[in-house]
Each structure stands twice: as C-alpha cells, then as structure tokens.
C-alpha cells in the first residue's frame, strides 16, 4: 500500500455536462488550513478553469456552496479538508436530490419552489397604521419560532433526506421547518393556511423521522423537530375538523 502524499491531496470531482457524468482526478497542494471550497477554487484557478461551482460569502452565511463530500452533504466553505480526508483522498460531487446543471452546480429551483408550496411566508395581521404588536421574546411559541430562524437555505438537509430521494414531491425538511417557524410567529395571521399546505400528500406526514436532516444541518438546527410539531398541529386540526389532512 502506498503512503499518502503529505504534500498533495488526491481530489476526485464528479463532473457533469450535456454529454453525461464522469469522475475527474486532480492533484491539489495540501495546506495546513484548507477548506473544501479552497480545494475546489484552487482547481478552478490553477488546473481547470472550466470547473463550475457556486460560492459567495465563504464564511457559512449565504448557503450557496453546499456539495457532497465523501458522500455526505456539507457546506464546502466551512468543511476543513483534514476532517474529511480519507488518507489523502477526497471525493466531491454535486448535491444529492437536485438536478445537476453542470459539475458542482445544481438547480435549486425545486428546493425554493417548495418553500413557497409549504406556505412558509408571512400572513399579515395588521396594517402599517396599527401599533406594532408586542411579542414576548421568552415565550414558548417564540422559542419554537427562534429555533429554526437561522436556516441559511443551503439545502444540505434536502440532500441528506432519503424521503426526498424516494418521493420527489415531498416538501423536504427546510421548507417544512420554515412553515413551522412562521406558524409559531405571533404576528402571523393565517395558521390554517400553513397547516393545509403542509398536510397534503407531499407534506409533513411523509417524514419517517430518520433524522438525517438534523444530523447533517451545518447550523445545528433541528428540522425533524419542526416537522413533528407540524404533524402534531395537523392532527389537532384534523380532530377539530378544520383540516383537509
């Protein structure tokens, strides 16, 4: 068995274009501190300028650089190479469960369309002429809303979810977590619209509680907990006879 080369990383990237997919191999200089995004950027700048990938903020805020690293969905900008290296090897591929446009760039439309379908948008209660309503920041309902508010829409949970893989219509963890956040917002008026949106055949009751969303969320959020909250509320609404669940 050959020893890993300490000076170089053996990087394999799953590349795709209109002719199909194939693995491409690159030798990338190893650094003491190096993220997966650094590796991909080095390849694009020094080895193959045709490599396509997405990034923007480089600090884990924008949610645009997620990709599969050694088979696991991760945010590339805050994934240190040393933590994921397999010997001196690393395999990088586009996010799972989304259509590939080219190389590491996936079409995020299905992901964001589902945010709309899950009705995770504000339903106003008042006009600009009304006084600003008082919200207790320590209240239990606000705590539920706060729990999911730091989602950066990176789609790591969506890529990790086996239920999405099996049922492409399923709204997925991020959209459902957003719906639960708005549901618990004291300023949101139409809770029933959210329950109706998430209780259909593609809604929260598809979730098998595998927990991969929560396991892989790079911001340590808990979408599965949000989904169980929606399950409880849709069942309560069904018992009250108010839902089409």
């Amino acid at each position: 068995m050959t020893k890993p080369d300490p000076l170089h990383l053996d990087v394999t990237i799953r590349r795709s274009d209109h002719d199909g997919s194939r693995d491409a191999h690159f030798q990338v200089p190893a650094r003491d501190n190096q993220t997966i995004l650094d590796v991909v950027s080095w390849i694009q700048q020094y080895a193959d300028p045709t490599l396509s990938y997405r990034f923007a903020c480089r600090v884990g805020m924008c949610g645009s650089c997620a990709m599969m690293v050694n088979g696991e969905p991760r945010w590339a900008c805050r994934t240190h190479v040393k933590k994921v290296l397999n010997g001196s090897k690393v395999h990088i591929a586009p996010l799972r469960n989304l259509p590939v446009i080219k190389d590491l760039v996936v079409d995020m439309d299905p992901f964001f369309d589902k945010w709309g379908q899950a009705e995770g948008r504000h339903h106003p209660t008042q006009t600009r002429d009304d006084p600003v309503p008082r919200i207790d920041p320590e209240g239990a309902q606000r705590a539920e809303a706060n729990a999911g508010i730091e989602c950066i829409n990176c789609s790591v949970c969506y890529a990790a979810c086996d239920t999405v893989a099996g049922n492409p219509e399923y709204l997925g963890p991020a959209a459902l977590q957003r719906a639960w956040t708005v549901f618990n917002d004291g300023k949101n008026a139409d809770r029933q619209a959210i329950l109706d949106a998430v209780s259909g055949s593609s809604g929260c009751h598809n979730c098998h509680s595998m927990g991969s969303c929560t396991h892989y969320c790079p911001n340590d959020l808990n979408p599965m907990q949000a989904i169980t909250g929606l399950k409880r509320e849709t069942v309560k609404a069904f018992i009250r006879g108010k839902s089409n669940a």
């Binding site: 799953r14 599969m68 088979g71 696991e72 969905p73 395999h91 591929a93 799972r96 890529a159 990790a160 086996d162 893989a165 098998h208 509680s209 595998m210 927990g211 991969s212 929560t214 396991h215 892989y216 808990n222 599965m224 907990q225 169980t228 399950k231 409880r232 069942v235």
Partner: protein, 113 residues
C-alpha cells in the same frame, strides 16, 4: 447518485423498525395458521410442538420475540416523538427502545432454554 452515510442512530432505528415490521408481517400468518391447528388438526400441532423443542427453533423464536418487542418499542418511540413535545433526548429514547427489547427477548430466551 451518491448516497450519504447512514451512520447515525435515528436512521438505524428507522431501518430496524421497517425490517422488523416486514418480518413480522411475513411471520404472523404462519403463527396464526399453527395456532389454528389446535382446533383443526391436533396431531399435526403436536408434531410441530415436538419439532419446536429443537434448540435451533428456540433461537428463531427468540429472534421473532426480539423483532416483536423492538417493533413495539420503536413504535412507542415514534408516537412519543411525534405527539409529545420532545427534545434532543430522542436518541436516548431510541437506545432505550433497543435496550428494553433486548432485555425482554433475552428473558424469553433464557426461559425457553
């Protein structure tokens, strides 16, 4: 398409719950058929019970009781998780479900041999 790693406890709990459910669905018709022999064919039932004294059959019975208990407690875990406000202690619940299942099926096994 690459599949993400499945090395976390809740995914394992999901798989065990599904597999135990499928196996029980296959086993239960045979179980009920054998029980019906008490009414329809006592001689055949006696022959089966003699065969069931075989230690290998006891081990298979242990597996079935284990599957039954793991399916029950896995289901209770899901109900608790989805219908009660729960916390990150869910992983502990999953572990407790497996532990309790092992205890109950182990007790059955020790009595059987």
């Amino acid at each position: 398409m690459m599949r993400p790693s499945k090395s976390h406890p809740l995914w394992f709990a999901f798989v065990v719950h599904r597999l135990s459910g499928i196996t029980l669905a296959l086993f239960l018709p045979a179980h009920f058929w054998i029980m019906s022999l008490a009414l329809t064919n006592a001689d055949q039932l006696d022959r089966f019970l003699t065969f069931a004294d075989n230690p290998l059959v006891k081990i298979v019975e242990f597996c079935l009781v284990f599957l039954l208990s793991i399916h029950i407690f896995g289901g209770l875990r899901l109900l608790a998780m989805e219908f009660l406000p729960w916390s990150n202690a869910q992983k502990s619940l999953a572990a407790a479900a497996v532990g309790l299942s092992l205890f109950i099926s182990g007790t059955f096994f020790l009595q059987a041999i």
